[in-house]
């Protein structure tokens, strides 16, 4: 790991100020993605700004509309939250299957969405539920937030502070996990979301995406059979030693069926 300057931010504004003034400065949340990146020397920041000590960023609040979760909320806290489990059980279930217990004890919601790994789980929940991301500057709809491979709508001086998930009707997430890391080879979040049926796919392509044809079929008839014969194209899908593009495309239909069946 290259050496760097370490700063512990006392507030979101302070953190945003440091990364805003220096393109080579980087935020550090749970570190479950960024520290492995540093260890591999894939990044050489001037300054690492630790946002783990900022108070009030890890809350979980439930109201009539849904659940608002602070950016520094650990995956383990979301998985264990009885409030989340009561309001949106599919969300608590998704969090409980991220990585392993030690990753869940450190990794955060904000870090996961800001990183936008193509195989991360949370992006499927944000897009599958029609969530909104709150930053220090603005509110961004999930559909506009995830813009490409490891790319988001966030500016250099923007810090995610929380994510609001609206309540849904039936909803479930199913993933085909990588056998070593548990990242999604393909994960599908299917929901009767607040603004209509949503089917969000992670792991398969460079970035989370929706499958409109499945959404229309499920809106007409919410059953696993409705999506059983809807195929997605393998063009542009991810390909690695674990799964070919064709296999990933096939898994999208299988995981969508299983997610709808799980949702009931």
């Amino acid at each position: 790991m290259y050496n760097f300057e370490y700063k512990k931010a006392g507030s979101v504004d302070e953190a945003a100020g440091i990364v805003g003034a220096d393109d080579e400065a980087k935020l550090l949340a749970g570190g479950m993605t960024y520290i492995p990146t540093l260890k591999q020397r894939l990044a050489a920041p001037t300054t690492v700004v630790d946002i783990g000590g900022i108070g009030g960023l890890d809350g979980i609040a439930v109201d009539g509309n849904g659940v608002t979760i602070g950016a520094m909320a650990r995956h383990a806290a979301v998985a264990a939250s009885t409030d989340v489990a009561a309001a949106i059980p599919a969300l608590a279930d998704l969090a409980s299957h991220i990585g392993d217990p030690q990753v869940r004890n450190r990794g955060t919601l904000g870090g996961s969405v800001a990183n936008n790994d193509p195989a991360a789980d949370y992006p499927a929940a944000l897009v599958g539920l029609g969530a909104t991301v709150q930053t220090n500057k603005r509110t961004i709809a999930a559909d506009e937030f995830f813009t490409g491979l490891f790319e988001t709508a966030l500016g250099q001086d923007e810090v995610v502070t929380s994510v609001s998930f609206p309540r849904a009707g039936k909803a479930a997430y199913m993933k085909f996990p990588n056998p070593a890391s548990r990242y999604a080879i393909v994960g599908v979040f299917a929901a009767q979301a607040a603004d209509g049926v949503r089917v969000a796919v992670t792991g398969a392509g460079p970035c989370v995406f929706r499958v409109g044809e499945m959404e229309a079929a499920l809106a007409a008839n919410w059953s696993a059979d409705s999506v059983a014969n809807i195929k997605v194209s393998a063009d542009g899908m991810n390909e690695d030693i674990h799964a070919s593009a064709e296999y990933r495309a096939h898994l999208v239909t299988v995981m969508a069926k299983r997610a709808v069946a799980k949702a009931g």
Binding site: N3, E5, L38, G99, P101
Partner: protein
């Protein structure tokens, strides 16, 4: 950049001046001589380095020492009571839960975090909990047996 890091490790206040890039596991092993915490990979996947930070199991290879400033750390060296093994350690001994022993400190620290919240885990729950702990020797079966027996001994 050098930073001063103060921790409580196995009940003792310690501090060291380290580079900001120093990982917690490096500080434990190289500055404090606590070599029971192992490093088995470069990818945060093997769990040989698991310690408790403020009571929760974490990978000491994926946390900067300075991030742990002020924290209460427990390593495998802090688990036994003098020469008397902790019931979880004793259970690994009795159930052949180790062969080379490289993964064992991480397995035990992980297992202790499991039983903290779930004193009587099922076999399935034990296996799921060990997703972040790799063992190249045992095939896991006796590790699962050990944790089951250790949890039973801890319940008394």
């Amino acid at each position: 950049m050098t930073v001063s890091v103060s921790l409580t490790v196995n009940g003792e206040a310690v501090s060291a001046d380290v580079e900001s890039r120093t990982l917690l596991v490096q500080m434990l092993r190289e500055n404090l001589g606590l070599t029971g915490t192992h490093v088995g990979c470069d990818t945060s996947q093997c769990g040989a380095c698991v310690v408790h930070v403020n009571g929760d199991s974490v990978k000491a290879c994926t946390l900067l020492a300075v991030q742990a400033e002020g924290a209460d750390i427990k390593t495998i060296e802090g688990v036994a009571d003098g020469d008397t093994l902790h019931p979880m350690q004793q259970a690994f001994h009795e159930n052949h839960g180790l062969q080379c022993g490289f993964c064992t400190p991480g397995m035990i620290m992980s297992a202790l975090d499991l039983v903290k919240n779930n004193p009587a885990p099922s076999e399935k729950e034990i296996r799921e909990w060990l997703e972040g702990n790799l063992c190249r020797c045992t095939g896991y079966h006796n590790i699962v047996k050990s944790i089951d027996a250790g949890a039973a001994a801890m319940r008394g």
